[in-house]
């Protein structure tokens, strides 16, 4: 870890990070604001869901129905929008922190100072993690605020499950950004790094979705980290969020470490 580098990188990227964080916060607030109107028609909406093919409902993570606030938010936000938002964030930022600096050549300046490559890579990894934490914290905070503002005591809301959902989402993206960071650390070409990490993450997301649509291709899900992220189970109080979090964290840490080591051992075309 190199503190001046961390500070400088945060300064450069904090604007982008806040854009994601505030976008996410705004969206979740909107969901909380909408919920009371929807809750009045829960019965009709649940009937609508039942009339749809089960695979589709599963794929878009609506299986929780609209019965409770956290079931609604898990389907509406944590099922699709947040994973996509964080996927894009991980892919973009990890490419920007590693592969782009190598591709453009500015990495040569960082490595011409008395800093080891491991320190540089570890610092960039911590910038990425800090960005993720910021987005998750702002999102969680906005959700809780939305609850206080719009929901109050009028509807059922299990705060603990909501927090669990956020923790698992955070761990999911520690794993995902670990993968994108690893890809970005071994690439010399910014566009290639972007393409390959995008292909892997969005590909995993798609595998998980396909696996959920039909039970005949359910095995597809096991190739995807997204299968460990079952926010509708958490909302319903089932599943094992602790186990999922630990596995995801382990994947993330392993990938970050591999990225840092790979970066410190390879030839750089600077």
């Amino acid at each position: 870890m190199n503190f001046p580098l961390f500070k400088q990188m945060m300064k450069i990227h904090v604007k982008g990070m806040s854009n994601y964080a505030f976008g996410s916060a705004f969206y979740i607030l909107l969901m909380f604001w909408l919920y009371p109107g929807i809750a009045d028609n829960t019965g009709a909406l649940n009937e609508l869901l039942q009339s749809m093919p089960e695979g589709i409902v599963n794929a878009f993570n609506f299986q929780g129905g609209f019965g409770s606030m956290e079931a609604f938010i898990s389907g509406e936000y944590y099922g699709l929008i947040l994973p996509l938002l964080l996927s894009i964030f991980s892919i973009m930022l990890s490419t920007g922190l590693m592969a782009r600096l190598v591709d453009q050549g500015s990495m040569s300046y960082l490595l011409s100072t008395p800093t080891t490559r491991r320190q540089v890579a570890a610092t960039q990894a911590s910038v990425l993690s800090a960005g993720l934490l910021l987005i998750i914290l702002v999102t969680t905070g906005a959700g809780l605020l939305g609850y206080v503002w719009f929901i109050g005591d009028r509807f059922e809301f299990n705060g603990m499950r909501y927090i669990e959902m956020n923790v698992v989402a955070w761990m999911l993206f520690i794993a995902a950004s670990g993968i994108t960071f690893l890809v970005s650390s071994v690439m010399n070409d910014e566009k290639k790094a972007l393409g390959i990490s995008g292909f892997i993450i969005i590909g995993m997301f798609a595998l998980d979705m396909l696996g959920k649509i039909s039970s005949s291709v359910e095995w597809l899900r096991y190739g995807s980290i997204f299968s460990l992220y079952r926010q509708s189970d958490i909302a319903a109080g089932s599943g094992d969020p602790l186990f999922a979090s630990l596995v995801l964290l382990a994947i993330g840490l392993a990938c970050f470490t591999a990225g840092i080591i790979a970066f410190s051992k390879r030839d750089l075309p600077l």
Partner: protein
């Protein structure tokens, strides 16, 4: 100070460097000459620890540049061949940031260098011209008073006035005992500052010479335009100087060391104008090889 020993790195496709060895002593300015693509930058990348050699090593004050990456850099200032700064900063922000990374308080020296090079340090980097970036790069390489400064094609993009100033800067630093390694593809750039120079071609070191030896080896083409065509003819027919070509009153003479002979011979006639075209490095090399081959036979 700097020892490069049997450095070998081959890239897929056959390019690379083979068995490059040279030593740069403390306080010496060492030129590293070669045409584009000869392996200058590859060698410098190894000295900076960006690449792992297949064989051999590069070390600065006994520290291996690949294995001790992160420690060696305390001793080194570096100007890359293609300058790329981190985006979204002004020149000042970048230099401040780099100073923190270098962990040296270089504020006074930095101010001094900026004054000398005369540029507006508050300009955002993306709005800078090539020459201006080069100036920021020079400040970054010099400001922390490193013991060894590595410059990859330092004067590209600078106007003649700034090139002159740059040479002065190098000579001042040299007087303070700083060691330099400077790569270039143009001889005049090296000529005025370097003590010794190595010549690299196709990934192999062909010679390491004292700069004066290289200077005497360099052949210059002198273009003389005579007042009268008859004079030109007589000059050519005289046979005292090696004639390269003649076109009417215009005679091109190839000189290598024998300047006196040329002046003596030309003074016999009325000369309208005189021009000197320095040979490019490639030609100097070719001649060097020719001479070596001739000597071998």
């Amino acid at each position: 100070m700097l020892v490069v020993d049997g450095l070998t790195k081959l890239f897929p496709g056959g390019r690379g460097i083979t068995d490059v060895s040279f030593t740069v002593d403390q306080g010496e300015v060492f030129g590293f000459l070669g045409p584009n693509g000869a392996g200058k930058s590859t060698t410098i990348r190894h000295i900076m620890g960006f690449m792992k050699p297949d064989r051999g090593s590069a070390s600065i004050k006994g520290l291996d540049t690949w294995k001790q990456q992160g420690v060696v850099q305390k001793l080194v200032g570096y100007l890359p061949g293609e300058i790329a700064f981190i985006e979204g900063m002004t020149g000042k922000e970048f230099l401040d940031f780099l100073a923190r990374m270098q962990r040296v308080d270089s504020l006074a020296r930095r101010g001094e260098l900026i004054d000398r090079l005369q540029f507006d340090v508050t300009t955002p980097i993306r709005k800078m011209s090539k020459g201006m970036k080069q100036k920021v790069g020079i400040v970054a390489a010099f400001m922390h008073n490193p013991e060894l400064i590595i410059l990859d094609e330092p004067t590209s993009g600078l106007d003649p006035l700034m090139q002159q100033l740059f040479i002065e800067l190098v000579l001042e630093e040299k007087a303070r005992g700083t060691t330099f390694l400077m790569s270039s593809h143009s001889f005049p750039e090296i000529e005025r500052t370097c003590d010794r120079a190595a010549i690299i071609k196709d990934g192999r070191l062909v010679a390491t010479n004292n700069i004066h030896e290289l200077q005497s080896m360099q052949r210059k083409l002198v273009i003389i335009v005579f007042e009268h065509q008859e004079d030109a003819e007589a000059f050519v027919l005289g046979g005292h100087v090696p004639i390269e070509s003649r076109d009417g009153r215009r005679v091109t003479v190839a000189v290598q060391g024998n300047y006196n002979g040329l002046i003596h011979e030309a003074a016999k006639y009325k000369v309208r104008s005189l021009d000197i075209a320095a040979q490019n490095l490639e030609d100097v090399f070719m001649q060097y090889y020719d001479r070596k081959e001739a000597a071998a036979q």
